[in-house]
């Protein structure tokens, strides 16, 4: 029942998006903002031949970057949250490097790691990891001490503590951090894909723009925002599956 209603809300969002788009297009009435259905028609036409390959590249870079950030960021955050020594040692490093605009590092990354996949994935990784570390760390720190006591007195090992308390307790904040970072990651992905590649939605959109092919450009933008929708949908789904206890 609730699942169904959520689907309806997504449709509702899409409807509003298209209505606003339609209004803007009618108001401006220039080729620079084409009507939504013309774009959709174009999108369907080029979907298999062009979008599929570019979209897959972008999706792979995002997913790889996120997974890498999770593999390194979650354990780091858990350790920093649970062991004050780790926090004291690592927090200054995190605070110093977090505010650096990661996009400014792109040229260095490209010089060091080449123009290929590695530098792009690492860029996304760098954007996401700090938010993951800080969210997980604070999630662990906010667990009341009393939560641990029954487990301590049962003789729980550190493994027990991590598995039974730290990971589930920090999960909601972790998912929120991924949510927050995801939008930035997609924007940065777009930017990195305008350099040194011939695949990816970023390349596709910029290429269409250079060729003054507005229909393809808008198709690309629609696909990029759909990718965002799907990724957010996946995170929301995980939230409902794993963290349903917090909505009780």
């Amino acid at each position: 029942m609730i699942e169904q209603r959520r689907g309806v809300w997504y449709l509702y969002g899409i409807l509003i998006f298209f209505t606003l788009w339609y209004m803007a297009a009618s108001l401006v009435n220039l080729p620079i903002i084409p009507m939504p259905w013309i774009v959709m028609e174009n999108l369907l036409g080029i979907f298999v031949s062009k979008i599929l390959i570019h979209g897959s590249y972008s999706l792979w870079r995002i997913v790889a970057g996120v997974i890498l950030a999770v593999i390194i960021g979650v354990p780091a955050g858990l350790y920093m949250g649970y062991f004050p020594k780790w926090d004291r040692a690592l927090s200054p490093i995190v605070y110093l490097t977090y505010p650096i605009p990661k996009i400014a590092l792109l040229p260095i990354m490209m010089l060091l790691l080449g123009l290929g996949e590695v530098s792009k994935i690492l860029m996304i990784f760098l954007i996401i990891i700090f938010q993951v570390i800080i969210a997980v760390r604070d999630g662990v720190k906010s667990i009341p001490k009393e939560t641990y006591y029954p487990l301590y007195s049962l003789g729980a090992t550190s493994g027990n503590i991590f598995w039974e308390i730290l990971i589930p307790a920090s999960m909601p904040k972790f998912l929120t951090s991924i949510r927050v970072a995801m939008a930035t990651a997609i924007s940065v992905l777009f930017f990195t894909e305008t350099f040194g590649t011939e695949y990816g939605m970023g390349y596709f959109i910029m290429d269409a723009w250079m060729r003054v092919n507005y229909l393809e450009m808008y198709s690309g933008i629609v696909v990029l925002s759909c990718m965002g929708l799907v990724l957010f949908g996946v995170i929301d789904y995980l939230d409902r599956k794993i963290c349903h206890w917090q909505y009780k």
């Binding site: 006591y149 301590y152 049962l154």
Partner: protein, 250 residues
């Protein structure tokens, strides 16, 4: 048997050492219950944490059956004030947690688990999360979790203080029922004189800062049916109250 000899606990705050407990001596026979009563800040909870193996830095001897406190080796059940249930586990998983940590396989205790679920009136609630339970129900889950382990020592920190008066009496009776069946050595901290009288075979009065034992009383009224409605109960609780008041004013 629980033995505490010359226990001293100090804690550090702002670089200075403060004594939390001083020269605590007491004994508790196997299967006995003991209520510790004392004013706020007298170190009741500290004493409980030492027994639970949470505070490890102390002077003196604290032993369960002749062995120093070692949570890995002994079975110690600890129920904190907020019941200590994990919000991300449902009732069933929360009860099972103690056995899981002690590496007891499900098939070895599934019958007992069902028994405790029935005994504590939790049937039908197994799939619920702590956030969906009332305080009394959460307390029942915490009791089930601890009793499933058949602990060498059960510790409860103001276990019934957050419950309303009616629920409190009900859960106190539930506790006594299960305790009678399993006679688990139990130490509970309380600030209600009536609760100490109703649940404690021994009543330990703590006082002062740092906490010291000012009296240990063998409770003559423990375990008598419906004792709460008897004249004796009122009189003893009044006497106890007076004793405590004088003691704490010293």
């Amino acid at each position: 048997m629980i033995q505490i000899k010359n226990l001293n606990v100090t804690y550090e705050a702002m670089g200075e050492g403060y004594a939390a407990l001083e020269n605590i001596n007491m004994e508790l026979g196997a299967g006995e219950t003991c209520a510790i009563i004392g004013p706020s800040g007298c170190g009741k909870s500290t004493l409980l944490k030492v027994l639970a193996g949470i505070i490890r830095e102390y002077e003196g001897i604290v032993e369960i059956n002749g062995q120093p406190i070692m949570p890995m080796k002994q079975k110690i059940g600890f129920i904190p004030q907020n019941y200590g249930l994990l919000p991300w586990k449902n009732v069933y998983e929360n009860i099972r947690l103690s056995a899981k940590i002690k590496n007891i396989k499900d098939r070895d205790n599934s019958k007992e688990l069902d028994f405790f679920v029935q005994q504590l009136g939790l049937a039908g609630l197994e799939g619920r999360y702590p956030g969906e339970l009332s305080g009394g129900q959460q307390q029942r889950v915490a009791l089930a979790r601890s009793f499933l382990l058949k602990p060498d020592l059960l510790l409860m920190d103001e276990p019934f203080s957050a419950l309303d008066a009616m629920t409190r009496e009900e859960i106190q009776n539930v506790f006594l029922d299960v305790w009678r069946k399993y006679s688990v050595s139990t130490i509970l901290v309380t600030h209600y004189v009536e609760e100490a009288l109703y649940l404690g075979q021994k009543i330990v009065i703590l006082s002062g800062i740092p906490g010291t034992i000012s009296k240990i009383i063998d409770n003559p009224l423990f375990g008598i049916e419906n004792i709460r409605n008897h004249q004796d109960f009122f009189q003893l609780s009044l006497a106890l109250r007076k004793m405590i008041k004088e003691d704490w004013l010293k």
